[in-house]
Amino acid sequence: MNGTLIWLTIRQVRWIRFAYLVLLFVTGYFEFTNRGSLSVHSEAGMMVWILGAGTIGKDVTNGVLQSIFSRPVKRFEYVLSKWFAVGSMGVLVAWLYLGMGWTILFFQDRPADLTDLLTGLIIAVLASFGTSASLILFSSLVPGFGDIGLMFLIGIVPTVAVQFWHGGSQYWGYIGSEVVQNFLFPAGGWAEDGFDSVSLFAWVSYFFVITLCLTLAVWAMNRKEITYANS
């Protein structure tokens, strides 16, 4: 990983994205107030989407890649630095979000258990770095903000299929939907089950999805031909 590239990725985040994050925090306020439990899995994923959308794709369309790769930087270093930067930003914002939830519950006289808080903090780390890996893969495949569109399309297909599938049971629809969810928001089974009920399969599949996404992203980046002629 390359410190300069990590810092560059963080500095590339525009302020408008923080406005979207504020919206997420506002809906989170009502979530925490109504549900009374600390949960951050899907929110951490969305935060990573907001902060990291187009992280490689925009570098391609804006012509930033040419400047970066004119220096002695290996492409896999670039991919890993992007992944780490987006994941770290996601973790920080998700922890802030959890802190807000904990404060709300505390002032409502129903403070969250320390175990719930610790679980939330760890899930925020796992979900952020997991989602960051799949986002980086999609961003390396399509230019601009195409990654968000691609993830949305892939995510919505099984969800819609489950709604319209009335043959027998919805069993296979749910299974398909879960597989896709675990690919788009990798966080193992911790989000639903907590750490005491997590399977070995969930742990292995989490790390496999991350390494697979990053390896494919490096492969896609290595195949990109960059021309310096028109920039």
Binding site: S37, F76, S177, S199, L200, L214
Partner: protein, 180 residues
Amino acid sequence: MPILKSNPYSAKVMPPWMVGITLLLFAALVGAGFYQRQHPVVLKDLIQWVPAEQAQKAAAALKKPILYDFSADWCPPSKQMRRDVFKNREASDWINQNFIPVKVLDRPGLGENDPAITELQKKFEIEAFPTLIVWVADDKSQREVGYSDKTQIMRFLQGELAFLATAASSTPTVVSTPVK
């Protein structure tokens, strides 16, 4: 493999350790899949579930309604409800105190259904998971279908208990202090 034979000094190098770790994890994933098939994970919560065949006897002895939870390990809303409600200390203590809770899992461990489970699902005309049913007699059962959070579940269950307490004035049901 051309992927591993690239020039290590090139900017386009694919680090062999990345490919190696991915392949290793793929092998581990297949192994974990086989292992999990033999040793399915027992999902824990805080409810003291009673086996379905003992539920009616226990309900008659303790004069409590039965709370059936028709759910599935493979169903995300069921899992979410377990996390939000059945793993919540306040809610589970209150449910344990006021109901005879019975969990009816659909296809546990992704296997086939026991005939007794299929029969119960048919009897209660279960169409979706999760479905919660408060049962006192065949003509007096109420249901909540789909995912509901802790507040909604508690509202539903408290409403049912209050209704049963007024309806069966000859055999009053003791309702403990509701959870916030």
